[in-house]
Symmetry: C2
């Protein structure tokens, strides 16, 4: 079969007719499929149900150092949970503060802290004329929503295969002291599944920002979320920052939302001692302590990182066929046609489809009208503005495999129609 780009106008129109008929057949089915968010499936949620047998009405509720989990106090979280999260985050337990149920909430609070009280004795950002933020793109829409909410100017940083464009980042942060931070998802990045290379992590740790209060927001959301036996590894950013004599440069975040329950797990922040002491000055005013009972439940359920690994293998077993099916469908339907490209991630929650320029919004629109809700085109970019209108984040986790098959079929029909429309218009 020829590539679409090599077809004549007649051939294009004919191909579009075939696909439009197929599209109408899908529409007639009246499906309602939601691929918009990276939510775990019910099957995955069921994996963690035994965690509710960990505590019962007769459980001992003190943790190993005697802290009563049912009462106030213990601002940094119980030691067992610090230990668990440090294993997941590949850092030291004493670098970790275990918080509530949402790492996004910790990230928001951390930005808010810089905004209200400032970092390292610098002027709080709310007192500055302008604050800028670096946003590797495509990236996580909820990150960008935070920095947009604060009115920061977001600067797109292109992603390479091994992480964000470090030349550009080094250049920007060294010159402009209004740049105060960068969002990073260093492993199995949202949405491309990119794993930062050792070089990228080292260059990140060795940044020499003009702003003393510049911070890397290292969202290690998919630290243990491998799809395959091969576990991609990244360098320990806290360690690299210390080595680079930049120990306060980074805040790292993680949660068990996609290990146990989305929004029902525990979340944590890790940083060096200086950042930690500063953080605690606000935290001790903000709360008497986070939910230690859920920490205890998690820490007793996952006795060590091996049991986390075993658990994550079960997730992978459910997720892998979904990812592979979607990718196979794309290869089958879009490969020969030369219609866009897609990622084949080794972990994480997303497949990124890069459509022919200018067709992403149209694909999302077509899919919607055939009953498939995709993440809005543009969502993985600051201000929802994809300069090429080409990136679509595909979230295969939530639906059962059977529904996902339908969604993938519909998706490739929509992608081809949108591309054909574009080509036909260009030749008209």
């Amino acid at each position: 079969m020829k590539k679409y780009s090599e077809l004549s106008q007649d051939e294009l129109i004919k191909e579009k007719e075939v696909l439009s008929n197929e599209y109408k057949q899908w529409q007639a089915k009246g499906l309602k499929l939601d691929m918009s968010r990276g939510k775990p499936s019910v099957e995955q949620l069921n994996l963690s149900m035994p965690i509710f047998d960990i505590l019962d009405g007769k459980s001992l509720m003190r943790c190993m150092n005697g802290v009563e989990t049912r009462n106030y106090g213990c601002l940094e979280g119980i030691v067992e949970a610090q230990h668990l999260m440090s294993e997941i985050m590949d850092c030291q337990p004493e670098q970790v503060i275990v918080c509530g149920n949402s790492s996004l909430n910790i990230m928001f609070d951390t930005v808010a802290r810089g905004y209200m009280f400032g970092f390292g004795g610098c002027t709080p950002w709310c007192k500055l004329e302008k604050v800028k933020w670096l946003c590797p793109v495509p990236g996580y829409d909820r990150h960008f929503a935070i920095t947009q909410h604060f009115g920061f100017e977001m600067i797109n940083i292109p992603m390479n295969d091994d992480g964000p464009d470090m030349d550009m980042i080094e250049d920007l942060v060294s010159k402009d002291d209004s740049i105060k931070g960068i969002w990073c998802v260093p492993k199995y990045s949202n949405p491309q599944g990119i794993v930062y290379s050792d070089e990228v992590v080292r260059r990140m740790a060795n940044l020499k920002p003009a702003a003393k209060d510049f911070r890397i927001f290292w969202d290690n959301a998919y630290a243990v979320h491998h799809l395959y036996k091969e576990k991609c590894k990244i360098l320990n950013i806290l360690h690299e920052c210390e080595e680079a004599d930049n120990p306060s440069l980074v805040f790292e975040f993680a949660s068990t939302s996609k290990i146990t329950f989305a929004g029902g797990g525990i979340a944590a922040i890790a940083c060096n001692n200086a950042n930690r002491q500063e953080l605690k000055k606000t935290l001790t005013v903000q709360t008497i302590g986070f939910d230690k009972i859920n920490m205890l439940r998690h820490a007793r359920y996952f006795m060590d990182v091996e049991s986390v690994d075993e658990h994550m293998k079960k997730h992978a077993k459910i997720l892998r066929p979904k990812f592979e099916m979607v990718i196979k469908t794309m290869e089958r339907d879009l490969g020969d046609a030369g219609c866009g490209t897609w990622t084949s991630p080794k972990g994480g929650y997303f497949i990124t489809y890069e459509a022919p320029k200018g067709t992403a919004s149209r694909i999302v629109e077509l899919a919607k009208e055939a009953g498939v809700i995709l993440t809005p085109a543009g969502a993985p970019f600051p201000y929802h503005m994809d300069p090429n209108d080409s990136i679509i984040r595909f979230a295969p986790s939530l639906p059962p495999l059977e529904e996902l098959e339908q969604a993938a079929d519909i998706f490739t029909v929509c992608a081809r129609i949108a591309y054909l429309e574009k080509l036909i218009l260009a030749k008209a």
Copy 2:
């Protein structure tokens, strides 16, 4: 027996010698008793242990309207939990947003929201030269810590028997648009156990603040925390604000921290629709949702407000003898001597002892040296400054009755010694 104030110098010295001997005997015991914080006792925590049998590995995890509690979403909390918290807060379920484990955290976040983004379209407080806050005193130290952390100027408002001095409040807020809020604990106030009268609540709801973004922070922490059969009631502030055509004036807060587990319960904010919509604009950026599983556990454990009432009776049964013993000890040892006054609250967590002027710090110091940790003198005041050095917050909940008896005995010895020292010095 004569009042201390009527004793001669010789009699004072003699009395002091007797008490100093008693004090030394206490010191010799090397006790370590902590009365500093209003923590529930282990016996109270045990009351709620059956809540851990509510969910097990086989439970159905969807709530009544089908929301999956183990997955993301449902920003306002599950309907069952909204209902439960609305019963506790005496308001409408649709006014409630159920959040995480800590109402203090919600209060901090709400102040932070006014500071960063502003209320009702007004200038965010971080952009203002000066922000002032009204603080009924004595009050809750953690409230004052929040407004101090933001650098607000705190203004003391004297408490009367039926709530704060409304004349002063009305006068201040009507004149000064830099006053942006007031802390209130309207029922069984911390630390005096005062219950706001209907008149105080109505006058509060009818305030005409110069600042359009003035808000009442209504911390209904002890809404159902009665010590006796008689349940003190307060007017519904949200309703009164509506009646007064002031519907956006108030944020109400509550939690189950002293119903189930301190720091392991659920917390909520209630407000009118305009405040709610504004709040949600930030909340939706801040988090994908709070822990719905703990909400489900609580909502299923407390099927209705009657079951909360029954549960609170069990708490009262444990707490009441502690309160009564302390008060009885004060009456016995301090009454005839005319050494200070104390409250006899009908609910809540504290007894307030008002020592003879200028002796509170000394009492706390003496108690500490005899092994009894009290809340620091001054703590119930902004900047920890008690203008009369006379208020001591006594928290009888945590220790077992036997330890509490010792603590109360030591306390009254210390209170008398401090008073005697003062009287002797005055006559010297």
